[in-house]
């Protein structure tokens, strides 16, 4: 196996920067000097081929990084692709809150059969639910409801506009 290829594989797969001496351990026949020569060769190849990555010498060794000029593309990529698709757990929780609000965490957990603390936090961060009241009784647990952002998202004016077909089983305290 060619030295440059081994060095490239190690640099690619490593989570942290590696010194030439570290990299040399990949194979019994390698010296730190061989590794440095290989890195020079690779750097030259990447430059010549206009690769979008390069090997950079850092304080504690070498690391392959994306070239800085691609930063804006990565940012654009992040902001568009990381759209908030809700998990099944989050969707179920949101549905329960939408149809049964104001509702306590305990009640949601009884309906879903699992702990929902993390999911509630997530939905709160997204601005879809909020604390709207406190229940009577022991510890006066927080009660959750949906936000105006929730209504806006679905283009409905008020909670009364939420469809309530007959087969809906989780509702319908709201109709008292």
């Amino acid at each position: 196996m060619k030295t440059t290829r081994i060095v490239e594989a190690v640099l690619f797969a490593s989570e942290s920067p590696l010194t030439s001496a570290d990299i040399a351990k990949a194979s019994g026949e390698l010296s730190a000097k061989d590794v440095e020569a290989a890195i020079d060769e690779l750097r030259h190849e990447y430059e010549r081929d206009e690769r979008s990555f390069q090997i950079y010498p850092l304080a504690d060794g070498f690391q392959i990084l994306t070239r800085p000029e691609f930063g804006p593309y990565l940012e654009q990529f992040d902001s568009v692709t990381r759209t908030s698709r809700l998990s099944r757990a989050a969707l179920e929780t949101l549905a329960i809150i939408a149809y049964r609000q104001p509702v306590s965490r305990l009640e949601v957990e009884e309906l879903r059969g699992v702990n929902v603390a993390g999911v509630l936090r997530n939905l709160q961060e997204r601005g879809l639910i909020e604390v709207v009241d406190r229940a009577e009784g022991l510890g006066r647990p927080l009660l959750y409801g949906t936000t105006s952002k929730f209504l806006d998202h679905f283009g409905i004016r008020s909670l009364e506009d939420l469809p309530r077909p007959d087969e809906l089983q989780i509702s319908l305290r709201a109709q008292e």
């Binding site: 392959i64 809700l86 099944r88 949101l94 939408a98 309906l111 009241d133 469809p163």
Partner: protein
Amino acid sequence: MRLPTPTSAQVVRSDDQFVVDLERFQGPLDLLLHLIRSQDIDIFDVPIADITAQFVAAIEGVEARLSLERAGEFLEMAATLVRIKAQMLLPRHEDLLQDEDPRSDLVRRLLEYELFREIAVALSSAEAERALHRGKGYVEPRPPPDVAELPLELTLEQLLEIAVSLPAPPEKRPHRAPVRPITVDEKIELWVESLKRKARVPFDWFVQRWKTRMHAVMSFLACLELAKRGRARLRQERPFGTLWVYRGEDDKDS
């Protein structure tokens, strides 16, 4: 690398007794399949009396050898085998077409389990193959976009579909009394909490989720009380427009 599938080496005959390392088996189906396959028995014509005897011998003292739950799984299978054995002894009707072989259900389960066991072996070698490849070890950290800012991919139809799929709430006494007293103080507390998080809150938004008028009245009285104390300001741009409740600037209480 392949999965450690049971081999005949695990069953040792000593004094006409099977000594089986049950830990090596995934469960009763795995053990039963092993007994059948290692002896080249035709799975469609299993000598049920022999196999039952072997199975019972193999799991002897299982309660002491495995956890209660795992032992229970083996014992349940032993009971099933004994029942099938008994059914085989019963005289069968002349009308054979109508009369299903008592073993058929078990055979179907065994074949199905064997299929998945085989798929698991295939998955295991795929796993080993994949493990030879490594992805990029270090990816420059990038600031995560604010989740609240991201467009949410969810339609009302999807939400409804999820809502419909949810089970009915368990029947039991209601969590709260149907009518509960509503006090101005309670509403004041609520407004204060809310205004801590937001500079202004529309009055409507706050009362619309309760249908009873009493909530609206108490909420409004609470606002007036807070305004009096200087902890809130009320503003309405035009008649019948949205009534906004603002956080008070001269918060006398604090």
